[in-house]
């Protein structure tokens, strides 16, 4: 059980890879692997933020809308502010939306799931009003393509960004006071409060993190597609949550798995990529993704199996008898 929880996700990754390699050897070509990782980056970066949220016992369902906000803000403002200025603006808008999520959750005392369900709709409405429902594009500002298409030391920029985000995320999660506070709150919010942890502030920061990571994803996305509109990113939050849960982060909170999230994001991209190479229709891809998630859940790779009271008690007590 412990073994599965710890390494199961990597076994699934390797198995998936082997299966696709047998079916279509192209999967393992260097250019395809690089391509695959670039495809992974979008969901993976937002999923890194989501890992923080779920570890802290929070959900952020609003990130799909924040993705649409990002693409629209970038496409409308790059011509005015330049690339750098527009990205700073998008990050600021994202941070403000994150703070709003956080304030609604902590001050109005609404559960994160429903609070962000509401802001998902509100932000979506806001961005549609902002764009008047029209697409905007950056076809005349191709410099921005450097974000998705540029290479540093031979590797595409999105891969570097993903790697940096996960490394930073992991360090914060594991080795800083903030990271410990997030785990503490997810583990037992009441205890955290009584221990003197600034619970509300930590939760607000969590939502800023999910929003800002989404803005980073959205920036890569915009630089790939060069278009922005208010209807993009529907269901994006579910992809990020899927990667997080498949990676082994406990929905109950307290236990986050950063490298699991990254691996899961790669598996999801790999399945899409492999099936594309095999010419499998999108419909079947979804079916397969759902089945993989179910498989991982049932094998206990993910800690969401419902434990009956009795089992849990025995597991807890096995510690004493070892003595």
């Amino acid at each position: 059980m412990r073994f599965w929880e710890k390494y199961g996700i990597y076994l699934i990754a390797i198995t998936t890879l082997i299966i696709f390699t047998i079916l279509t050897p192209n999967v393992l070509s260097l250019s395809n692997i690089v391509n695959l990782l670039v495809q992974t980056s979008m969901v993976a970066i937002a999923a890194a933020g989501m890992t923080f949220a779920i570890t802290g016992g929070a959900f952020d369902l609003s990130i799909g809308s924040i993705l649409a906000v990002t693409t629209s803000v970038l496409c409308k403002n790059v011509p005015i502010l330049g690339i750098f200025g527009a990205i700073v603006l998008a990050l600021s808008v994202g941070a403000v939306l994150g703070v709003m999520n956080g304030l609604i959750v902590t001050k109005l005392r609404i559960q994160t799931f429903v609070a962000t369900l509401a802001t998902q709709i509100i932000y979506r409405g806001g961005v549609l009003i902002y764009t008047q429902g029209r697409d905007s594009d950056l076809f005349r500002y191709l410099d921005i393509k450097v974000i998705a298409g540029g290479r540093v030391l031979g590797l595409p920029v999105p891969i570097w960004i993903t790697f940096t985000v996960f490394l930073a995320g992991y360090m914060i999660y594991k080795h800083t006071q903030f990271g410990m506070w997030v785990r503490a709150i997810g583990s037992n919010e009441e205890a955290a409060r009584i221990s003197g942890i600034k619970v509300d502030r930590t939760i607000i920061v969590i939502f800023v993190i999910t929003a800002v990571t989404t803005v980073i994803s959205g920036t890569i996305y915009t630089s790939q597609l060069l278009t922005g509109n208010g209807r993009l990113g529907v269901g994006f939050e579910l992809e990020a949550i899927t990667a997080t849960i498949l990676g082994g982060t406990a929905l109950a909170g307290g236990k986050g798995k950063f490298w699991g999230t990254l691996t899961a994001a790669i598996i999801l991209a790999l399945m899409k990529n492999g099936m594309n190479l095999l010419g499998v229709q999108d419909f079947y891809q979804r079916l397969a993704t759902g089945l993989i998630l179910l498989l991982a859940l049932s094998m206990g790779v993910v800690s969401e199996r419902i434990q009956t009271r009795g089992n849990r008690a025995t597991r807890n007590q096995s510690g004493d008898t070892n003595e």
Binding site: H175, S187, G196, I197, R309, A313, T321
Partner: protein, 508 residues
């Protein structure tokens, strides 16, 4: 002597309830000051005000002679107050050291990265000071209840506070661990700390307190030197009347063997247990945390599966692999974990009572619940158990601990009950309710039920049991008849010291 804490005319009202009214008391610097009172007397509310969890409506708090306002937890810490709450307030997914120093993590200035090495050393140093032995890096989730309690104590000591409040710190501790706690308290006292100690166990108060304050129904009753009091005095002050025959019950005559356990094993918890319980008999089971007694209860009730052996009910070998089968065989179980696995907090008193036998309460032809039958059931148990609640649709979560426990018991009795297994039947409930539960136990035995009572409360075991079975490391080490029971002997068997080996303690 100066005064560490003075509470002046503190009042606190919750919607519909006056939790504290005009409470006045003072605690001297360097003393161990006990606070006692029945559940709902206001002890915990008072402590939560000191801890900054609640704010008083009126009144004043003086710490070391200075008036202070405690708005939140950090104010309380700043005043030099640390509180060990009754419910364990730990973060299970964090390590011991992270839990202890969560708000005072040592970190590098520039990067904010936590210095693991120093955190480990700080925790070790703190542990050495109070002589607690734990691995700072183990996850709290993997610790036993008593070890968690020790972490809670460490957490309170980490601030180096001058005033330490302990709210029922021994609820989850075995006797060996309680004496460990005593020595920690002695150490703290020797270093000039002031201890406020809340407990239901009067014996403990006589063991360690210098003075005692009694609260009743949110009001101050008295503060007295412990030396000037007897247990009966305190009980009288607490309940406002004397509780007769507090610790005594009539012992019934026994009938035939109801349940026989034959070479029962459940690896790795216990091996080769054999004993039997007759109708009308109360068999107490003693043992330290981790000795396998809880697992034994779980196997009998079908929550865990045995690996070897047999269980016979009325002489017939009975297979119990699931609670459903246990209920069918007339085995009822009352858990120690009332809040988490005993009551359905959001459901009404009535629903909590009838849920196990709801099928029997339905009309035969329709599938609807016969409310009249249900009401009659509630009525009879309300009378039988002296249940107190506002209305029959009141949610069980709003009842006092004692009344909740009675509801859980009533549920067990409402079904067919030949064997009643009780795990810590009076944990966390007050003296008045305790006496009533003991009365009930006597009545049940008289009715011919075979009772198996697992408890860490030795006086309870000794006064309520007809025989006491003692377990140590998964085996039966002793079976004591009424005339052989005393605390010392039980502890010898429970710690394995009757073998003459140097065994050092329980789960610690």
């Amino acid at each position: 002597m100066t005064k560490a804490v003075e509470i002046v005319k503190i009042t606190k009202t919750f919607p519909g309830v006056k939790a504290l009214s005009n409470v006045e008391m003072s605690v001297k610097t360097g003393e161990v000051h006990a606070i006692v009172g029945e559940n709902g007397a206001g002890k915990s509310t008072l402590m939560k005000i000191l801890g900054g969890v609640y704010r008083p409506d009126d009144g004043q708090i003086l710490i070391h002679g200075k008036a202070v306002v405690i708005k939140d937890v950090s104010d309380s810490v700043e005043c030099g107050i640390s509180i060990i709450y009754q419910e364990l307030n730990l973060m299970p997914e964090l390590t011991v050291s992270e839990n202890v120093f969560i708000t005072e993590l040592p970190k590098m200035k520039a990067t904010g990265i936590v210095r693991r090495g120093e955190l480990y050393r700080k925790t070790r140093a703190l542990m050495e000071r109070v002589n607690i032995e734990l691995n700072p890096d183990s996850l709290v989730n993997d610790l036993s209840v008593s070890e968690k309690q020790m972490v809670e104590i460490l957490k309170a000591l980490s601030h180096d506070s001058s005033i330490i409040v302990m709210d029922e710190p021994t609820a989850a501790l075995s006797n060996v661990e309680v004496s460990k706690l005593y020595s920690i308290i002695e150490t703290l006292k020797a270093r000039g700390k002031t201890i406020i100690y809340i407990s239901h166990r009067l014996k403990e108060i006589f063991d360690i307190a210098d003075r005692v304050t009694v609260l009743r129904d949110g009001s101050f009753v008295a503060t007295k030197d412990i030396k000037s009091l007897t247990q009966d005095d305190i009980v009288r002050l607490m309940v406002g009347r004397s509780v007769e025959n507090f610790y005594n019950r009539d012992h019934a005559t026994f009938g035939d063997t109801v349940i026989e356990i034959d070479h029962l094993s459940c690896a790795p918890y216990f091996q080769n247990l054999s004993f039997s319980v007759r109708s009308g008999e109360v068999l107490g089971i003693a043992g330290l945390m981790g000795c396998g007694r809880e697992e034994l209860a779980k196997v009998l009730y079908g929550l865990l599966n045995r690996t070897k052996g047999r269980v016979l009910i009325n002489g017939i070998p009975t297979e119990v692999r699931h609670p459903r089968e246990a209920l069918r065989a007339g085995i009822q179980f009352v858990t120690e974990d009332r809040k988490d696995s005993g009551i359905f907090p959001l459901m009404s008193v009535k629903e909590n009572l009838s849920i196990n036998i709801i099928k029997k309460l339905c009309n035969i032809f329709s599938l609807l619940i016969n409310t009249e039958k249900e009401n009659r059931l509630l009525e009879s148990y309300t009378k039988f158990m002296n249940l107190k609640y506002a209305s029959d649709s009141q949610r069980v979560m709003f009842l006092s601990g004692g009344n909740q426990q009675k509801v859980v018991l009533a549920r067990a009795l409402a079904g067919e009950c030949r064997v009643l297994i009780l795990l810590e039947p009076t944990r966390g409930i007050d003296v008045g309710a305790k006496a009533e539960i003991y009365d009930l136990l006597g009545n049940l035995a008289k009715k011919g039920i075979a009772v198996i009572m697992i408890s860490s409360d030795l006086p309870e075991l000794i006064t309520q049991s007809d025989r006491v079975l003692v377990m140590f490391q998964g085996q039966i080490t002793g079976l004591l008849e009424r005339n052989e029971m005393d605390e010392e002997r039980i502890m010898q068997y429970a710690t394995g010291t009757h073998f003459g080996e140097g065994f050092t303690g329980g789960a610690l």
